[in-house]
């Protein structure tokens, strides 16, 4: 009897969500007519323009040299003329161009070139390196989902940094993502290299959260905005991954999935200032022994940007704390801890000044990225070995010629736990081609 009640309830639910997509694609006849009218007007205007141009061409002397491509400043004049010629045929709507390519995804390529000078101590990076070339392909797939691909080209190989489908029309305000993606662990792990406020990633990420690649794995992500009082934005995310994250998790069996949970709270303190706090938890199978590794994280971001002068001045303060619980052979566990504190102030429209303090423990025998030169004794160690502590500090100056390129210098001093001191200067050029979609806040 109970089952008889459950089944109609489930069927009702399916019927309820079934019509939603159908409703979403109901043709909007009035809008279609408006668009068709606009396109008709535009075609007429273009025809008139072609006739005008043909007339001008016929009237021009045969020996006249070809006109060069108009300079940007001339675009307005040229367009104004066109608008003037079509006074009776105004151009309504601006989406008439390149109709044949309209379904191509937005394509972008972002170059990340790094030059390094000074003494790197035990973590070698090349003097000059085309560190990464990111190719982005992004588009709306259908009325229910969008797709994003980010291919990361190094100098010697290609990797799928991210590639996922995001379902934007799920009922109940859920959002589902499936594919390979950066995990929602903290804030830095989710960021692509070209949007980092530094040339390198903080020591805590390098030591405890799988280095530059971070937790970046194939899996599913389900998130939801959770109602909260007082204009607080609260978002919960639950993710399940295959379980392969270099140096942190390794899936020996299909059941060795790793999971990540993240809770983010955000609030506007004022029109110009806001704060975001996050808590993260990740667990997965140890790469060294048949046991579970765990990561705990807390992150905080304070932003200030006065709206009237938003393009000239801003400040972003960030910090993340990560605790790890790593299993060793023999049943013991190591619990390294690390954090960073960082601040960036925008001095003017093109200049940014920043600083970062890093401190992070790691296992003496733990693989890091860039690779640490570990001691010979580590050959006999299964696990990450005894804990040591790295400490570093950086000062950064960034210049933006435009919003599509930037030049950054980072002066960095690091004291590694083995007792070595690194003093480096990193110079970075980032440049963007094409239409790269904006990243989430």
């Amino acid at each position: 009897m109970k089952r008889l009640i459950v089944l109609p309830a489930l069927a009702g639910f399916l019927l309820w969500i079934g019509p939603l997509p159908a409703r979403a694609q109901t043709p909007d006849s009035a809008e279609l007519l408006n668009r068709m009218k606009a396109m008709e007007d535009r075609i007429q205007a273009l025809e008139a323009e072609i006739q005008t141009l043909k007339g001008q061409q016929a009237a021009a002397p045969a020996a006249q040299p070809p006109q060069p491509t108009p300079a940007p400043a001339a675009v307005t004049a040229q367009v104004s003329t066109a608008a003037g010629a079509g006074e009776n045929l105004p151009v309504y709507g601006g989406a008439g161009a390149a109709a044949a390519k309209v379904f191509n995804p937005d394509m972008s390529a972002i170059g990340d070139f790094i030059g390094s000078a000074g003494n790197p101590a035990n973590r070698y990076t090349p003097a000059l390196e085309m560190h990464e070339s990111e190719l982005g392909l992004q588009a709306i797939i259908d009325p229910y989902a969008r797709g994003d691909f980010f291919l990361s080209f190094g100098e010697h190989g290609v990797d799928l940094e991210e590639g996922y489908i995001t379902f934007t029309s799920l009922p109940g305000a859920f959002q589902l993502r499936a594919g390979k993606m950066r995990a929602a662990f903290g804030s830095v792990n989710t960021l692509h290299n070209h949007v980092l406020p530094w040339v390198d990633r903080p020591l805590v990420n390098q030591n405890l959260v799988a280095g530059e690649d971070g937790i970046d794995d194939a899996g599913l992500s389900l998130s939801r905005i959770i109602p909260a009082p007082g204009q607080i934005f609260l978002e919960g995310t639950a993710q399940a991954f295959r379980g392969d994250t270099e140096g942190v998790f390794r899936a020996a069996r299909r059941s060795d999935l790793s999971t990540v949970e993240h809770l983010r709270a955000y609030r506007d303190i004022s029109e110009s200032t806001n704060i975001a706090l996050g808590g993260s938890f990740a667990r997965g199978h140890s790469p060294f022994v048949d046991a579970e590794n765990q990561l705990y994280g807390v992150d905080a971001t304070l932003r200030w940007k006065p709206l009237r002068r938003a393009i000239y001045h801003s400040f972003v303060g960030r910090s993340e704390f990560v605790w790890a619980r790593m299993a060793n052979l023999g049943g013991s566990t190591s619990t390294p801890f690390g954090y960073y504190v960082s601040g960036d102030y925008q001095l003017g429209r093109r200049w940014f000044l920043g600083g970062r303090f890093d401190r992070s423990q790691r296992g003496l025998c733990q693989p890091t990225a860039p690779l640490t030169q570990t001691s010979a004794a580590c050959a006999a160690v299964t696990g990450i070995g005894p804990l040591i502590q790295d400490t570093g500090g950086s000062v950064l100056l960034t210049y933006w010629p435009s919003e599509f390129s930037q030049v950054r210098g980072q002066l960095k001093r690091t004291h590694y736990g083995e007792g070595r001191e690194a003093n480096e200067f990193l110079l970075q050029f980032i440049f963007s081609l094409g239409a790269h979609g904006a990243h989430p806040f």
Binding site: I5, A9, T69, V91
Partner: protein, 347 residues
């Protein structure tokens, strides 16, 4: 909602949901069916049933007033003109901030999540911040192509659609045309009509109300336009400099001639060499006024003005640019008074 992430599902939120529903008899019947299953129902089915009730509650609530979110305050002002008190309107960008550079803050998601209609300027004005907000809003109604997504540019006369090859060497150029089109009252009229038609289609019960308000707005705008035309008529053909390409529609409508820009290219900050060019142009062509939007630094315009004996006019491209501009009419009143006074001052 947090209960969706916990192992047990408390019934207290269900009571809140029930109180929001329009048909209490159906709701109670549905609830009692679910509640009767008590401990026998698997947790997943309980969650699904609750989800059905929540969706129903949300739909019923949305039927009362249209929740409209606009990209800019100008579109909000036009929506308010035709929607009156039958809609709730909120805008994302403020009138005094650069609409190209808005931070996609999560607090905007709370508004977009509940929106029935999202009205955008389009022509890639919001490309740097709106797409991630739409994607993260979890609101299928306002996704591109959905019924609750309205691109206002389809109703407007668009200028400066680039011809020939377009590259970023031209700066942050908009390949589909200049998106500052709302600064032509004719476009304001067409956009308002387009919004009214969309609202009427979405809420047929209020269709006559929206159309009547649209007609009323049309009449009031026609009357106001006569005054604005009269004030601006003496200055037809006058040459000006503007900081950014924000004014092509306004200047075409009122016959002003924009000779050059403080920015050497759209989105590129002023350079010394270009500033010198602007000074020479102003001197050569006897140009006396520089229009500057409220979100740009005044140092370069002021130095150019002092070098040429000209004047800087900080005019407002949007409703909400200053406190006294609270609607579409006041935007033109404010700007036209300011411009007329400035022209009279410099002669």
């Amino acid at each position: 909602m947090s209960s969706f992430f916990s192992s047990s599902f408390p019934w207290e939120p269900m009571e809140r949901i029930r109180s929001n529903m329009t048909n209490p008899y159906e709701t109670r019947a549905a609830l009692s069916g679910v509640l009767n299953l008590g401990g026998f129902m698997p947790k997943l089915l309980r969650a699904l049933a609750a989800l059905v009730l929540m969706i129903g509650a949300g739909t019923a609530h949305a039927a009362s007033k249209l929740n409209v979110v606009t990209a800019t305050e100008d579109l909000a002002a036009l929506a308010r003109e035709v929607g009156g008190d039958h809609i709730n309107v909120d805008s994302i960008a403020k009138g005094y901030q650069d609409p190209h550079f808005v931070e996609p803050k999560p607090s905007f998601l709370l508004r977009l999540q509940k929106a029935d209609l999202l009205i955008v300027v389009g022509l890639q004005l919001e490309i740097g911040w709106l797409p991630p907000l739409q994607t993260q809003s979890r609101n299928s109604k306002i996704q591109v192509g959905a019924n609750g997504y309205l691109d206002a540019s389809q109703f407007a006369k668009i200028l400066e659609i680039p011809t020939g090859q377009i590259t970023r060497a031209m700066g942050d150029v908009h390949p589909l045309g200049n998106p500052h089109y709302w600064l032509d009252p004719g476009n304001g009229r067409r956009i308002a009509k387009g919004i009214a038609d969309k609202m009427a289609e979405m809420q047929p019960g209020d269709a006559s109300y929206f159309q009547q308000r649209s007609a009323d707005f049309d009449n009031r705008l026609a009357a106001a336009e006569k005054g604005w035309e009269a004030k601006m008529a003496p200055f037809r053909g006058r040459k000006i400099i503007t900081y950014h390409r924000s004014w092509p529609n306004f200047c075409e409508h009122y016959g002003l001639d924009v000779v050059d820009y403080i920015e050497p290219r759209p989105g590129i900050p002023p350079t010394p060499s270009h500033t010198l060019e602007v000074i020479n142009t102003m001197k050569r062509e006897n140009i006396k006024l520089i229009f500057v939007e409220p979100y740009f630094d005044l140092r370069t315009p002021n130095s150019i003005a002092s070098a040429t004996g000209g004047d800087v006019v900080q005019i407002m491209p949007s409703v909400g640019g200053v406190k006294e501009i609270t609607n579409y009419f006041q935007l033109f009143d404010y700007d036209i008074n300011l411009i007329a006074n400035a022209f009279n001052k410099v002669k």
